[in-house]
Every structure is written in structure tokens, then in C-alpha cells.
Symmetry: C2
DNA sequence: AACTGTGAAGAACTTCACAGCA
DNA sequence: TGCTGTGAAGTTCTTCACAGTT
């Protein structure tokens, strides 16, 4: 029986596309904002704009969850917040440990979004004995020696790695051996994990490099803004640089099955 | 004219797929490690393993850059490092400003990977007058009032936003007006920018929520590890939990055109 | 009349499998 | 012989466009 809950509603269930799953948190955030403003319903168009996607995509995404809207009207904000939260598993509280309490680890520990969104920082762990006991974000830092007991005592299944690259794989191995099955990796390394363990990574330098790639392209195509501009037929309108028709922040993308390490000093 | 360089090699050039661009930094990192160990050549298989992707994908990716390998042998490490660096625009030095010097901003400022990878922190900017002049990572924090002059004086085209969500859009607008055309956003907000400006975002809570989604699925399918396990026919092997055949850290994925806000307290 | 839900078309990405070259 | 480079097939994701519902 496990932790009860979620015995699929019979209709709909299997396989929500990964791309859709990755957008659900965005919708949830936009919906939460609407909810706080006591907005009762939204159309796919409005919500899509707030989330920065297009409405067809949003409707398609929601169609994988079920038929939660009302034709001619839109979606009930509160109801959708609940359904998406449930789908994401946020109706329960996930204890999380953060390993590596340097600048970044401390920043993550202080991140206010945890509690409000279904996560709870169960412990902060660092290998430096000098850190032990020191309070960070209201929690005493615990030493790495205690890692295994902390994981099992708190039933932690999600771990965040914010250590230097060199320590990441070792920390990862210990987390996994202790029972963690989901890891968010901020260290700039490819982690090797057993089947059944999920890893996601966040990597500053990779993101910057992707931006640099596009930045270089821009420079190559426009030369100096004002000089021989608009060479290759790329930009649709006129001036491409500053202020012009605003557009929902699209940003680049990230390949599926993607692999991206993370922030953190070497 | 312009900044010289990159006048496409005639052959190959237009349109490297986004998914490929997103992986180039991974390859580059793996190659750099090999280079430091003075390894002269690698096969697609070896490099792919190091980068955590499969070799067919890697070869296809490289094929968009040109034919830089030698059949029967592999790729010359140094040569590939150069080619990828050039493609990513890392043979030049990009000045970057970081706005919002809280815990996260400081962590980013201290990130060692900057200098080594084609980026240089030109300035740290914060709205708090009390921070002004305080040294962080060896640089004095400058006040937001100076934002515009800092951007133009240093020819900055890439900005990093690490402010609270509430300030992000405003900071973004100022950066863009001052000439920044690429933004890395760590604030949990969808930024609206003019055409021609790229935005990428990094968001802790979104990553955690995606992990929670999969974690929930695991719980639902395996119940308690050891009890009525392997219900729905998902896992191929046997036990899915801890230690078992290691696999290159795949991690989840991220939708193209994706939109993901970022870390930072509310 | 307004807006959702979705089949179908299209685009992007991945994987296969093998021809071709060193 | 060994490994790259790449057409072609397969898969996933996105967008279109409209039937269906309130």
C-alpha cells in the first residue's frame, strides 16, 4: 500500500510527456499568483501568457492531466492548482538534504520557495568540521559522517549536491547507498548513478556558454547596430537590439535527456 | 568588420540544432579534462561516455560542426577543444555583470568557472546602498544607479539576474535598455523581453518539482522496496532502487523553448 | 459567442545501421 | 580492422485548426 494516495483516477493516467511535466511547475507558479489575487478563473490564453508559453501547448499539456476546464469559460484556478500540485506530488511534503554548504549551499538553504512548495530542508551537510554546528538558515550544519543516519532517520529521498566537482560523485554514491533516489546536482560533473535514480543538473557555465553561442551569432549577423544591419535575413522586424515588441521570455532550450552539471567553484 | 572572426568556413554553417548547442558545453568540459591529462585522441564512444550521452548522438552533433574526426582513429582532443570553443564563441572574452548580490549572487561571483571558460565578471551590482563598496569575490559591489554606465563602459552584453523575483523584471528592463542582449535569470519569474534578446533561466524549485513528480511515480509503482514490488511493468531489470548497473547520469529533460525561472528567495 | 479538448499535420530530435575512409 | 559520418527510420514534441460544449 505504500504511502496511500494516487491510485490513478481510472481514466487518464499513464505517461505524461516529459516536456509537459517540465512545464507544470510553470503553470503552477502562474496559477498560484492568480490564486493570491483571488482570480477565480482563467482562460488558456491568459494563463499561457503568464507562464510564457502558447495557449495551444498549454491546452494540450492540460489534456494529459484530464479535462479540468470548462468550454466557453476557462479553468477554475483553485481546482487547477490542486490538480497540478497533486500530479507533481506536492500534496505531500518532501524532506530534502543539501550537501555542501558553501556560498551556493547557503543560498539554496535560504531559498524561501522550499517550504511553500512541498519541500522541507531536513538537514544541511558539510564535510568541513569547522562548519559543524554552525547555524545556516536556522539549521545547524551537520557533518558528513552523519549523512547516512540523517537520510534514513528522516526518510529523505531527494538530495541536493552543492559541493565542489571533485566531491560530487562520492557524495552522490553515499546518498544513493543511503536510499536517496532523486538528485539535484549543482556540481559541474556528470554523475553516474544506478538505474532507478533520477538526476537533474543545474550548471551556470553551461547556461552562459549557450548564451554566448547566440550572442556571437547576433554579432555576426548585425555587425554594429546601425551599420550594414540586417544582413542575413533573420530578424523579421527592423532593429533587433533593445526595446521593441515585447515577447514572453522564451529563452533558449535544453535538449531532452539533456545533461547539465552545475554551478560551484572548482 | 565587427569583432572580426567567424565568417563561416563556407562549408557547413547555418543552423546547428538547439539541442546540439546545449550539449556542446558538455563535450567541451569532457574534452578539457582529457586535455589536462594530455590524452591526444578520443573515440566517439569514450567521449560520449565521459559526457553522459550516447555515441551516435555525439557523432551526429559533431557532424553539424564539420568533419573533425579521423575514421578508424577518433578525434584529436586539442583540435576539438578549439573548434567547439570557437563555435560557442569562447575564444573571445565575454564581460558579464551580476545583479543582486545576495547569497546566490555571491555564490555566482565566487564561481571559479568564469575566467577559465571565456567569461569575466565585469561588475557586481546591488540595490542595497549598504552593500556598495563592500568587496565580494575581490570586486567592490556597485550600486544599481551605476548600472547603465557600467554596461556601456564595459561593453557588457550578458547579464545575470540574481535578485528577488519582485525586482527581476525591472532590472531586466534596465539591462536591456542599456544594451544587454543575453540574460541568465535566476529569479523565479517569467521575464518579458524584446525580440532579439535571449533569456535562459535556472530555477531550483522547478527542478525539485520535476524530481518530486518522478519520485512520486516510483513510490506508486514499487510500494515499499521488498513488498509487493514491481507492480506495473515498468522497470526492465529487477530491483530499481539503490545500487545496480550504473548508468551515465541522464537526469530528466527540459522542454525545448522551455521556460524556467530560478532560485532566489521570494 | 467564447473557449476547451484533440485528431492530424508538421517540426525537431534521437537512434539505427551501414557505407566509406584511414 | 576500427571508427567516423550520415541517410533513413523512429520517436517525441509542437502547432494547427476545428468539432464540441457551455
Amino acid at each position: 500500500m505504500a504511502t496511500g494516495r494516487t491510485h490513478r483516477p481510472a481514466t487518464r493516467s499513464r505517461g505524461i510527456p516529459e516536456a509537459t511535466v517540465a512545464r507544470l511547475p510553470l503553470y503552477l507558479r502562474a496559477l498560484t499568483a492568480l490564486s493570491e489575487r483571488s482570480v477565480p478563473t482563467v482562460s488558456s490564453e491568459e494563463l499561457a501568457t503568464a507562464a510564457g508559453v502558447n495557449s495551444a501547448k498549454l491546452r494540450k499539456d492540460f489534456s494529459y492531466l484530464g479535462s479540468y476546464g470548462t468550454r466557453g469559460v476557462g479553468y477554475d484556478v483553485e481546482y487547477l492548482v490542486y490538480q497540478i500540485s497533486r500530479e507533481l506530488g506536492l500534496t505531500q511534503d518532501w524532506p530534502v538534504v543539501i550537501v555542501g554548504i558553501g556560498n551556493l549551499g547557503a543560498a539554496l538553504a535560504n531559498y524561501g520557495g522550499f517550504a511553500s512548495r512541498g519541500f522541507r530542508v531536513a538537514a544541511l551537510i558539510d564535510a568541513d568540521p569547522a562548519m559543524a554546528g554552525k547555524p545556516v538558515a536556522g539549521l545547524p550544519v551537520r557533518h558528513t559522517d552523519e549523512l547516512e543516519s540523517i537520510i534514513s532517520d528522516n526518510g529523505v529521498s531527494i538530495g541536493v549536491i552543492a559541493t565542489p566537482a571533485g566531491a560530487a560523485q562520492q557524495v552522490c554514491d553515499r546518498l544513493v547507498a543511503a536510499g536517496v533516489t532523486s538528485i539535484l546536482n549543482f556540481a559541474p560533473t556528470v554523475l553516474v548513478v544506478p538505474d532507478g535514480v533520477d538526476v537533474r543538473k543545474v550548471d551556470l557555465s553551461i547556461e552562459l556558454q549557450i548564451l554566448a553561442f547566440h550572442e556571437q551569432r547576433k554579432a555576426g549577423e548585425e555587425t554594429v547596430p546601425g551599420t550594414a544591419a540586417a544582413a542575413a535575413g533573420a530578424a523579421a522586424g527592423s532593429g533587433a537590439t533593445a526595446s521593441a515588441r515585447p515577447r514572453a521570455a522564451t529563452g533558449g532550450r535544453k535538449g531532452p535527456d539533456g545533461d547539465v552539471p552545475a554551478v560551484m567553484p572548482a
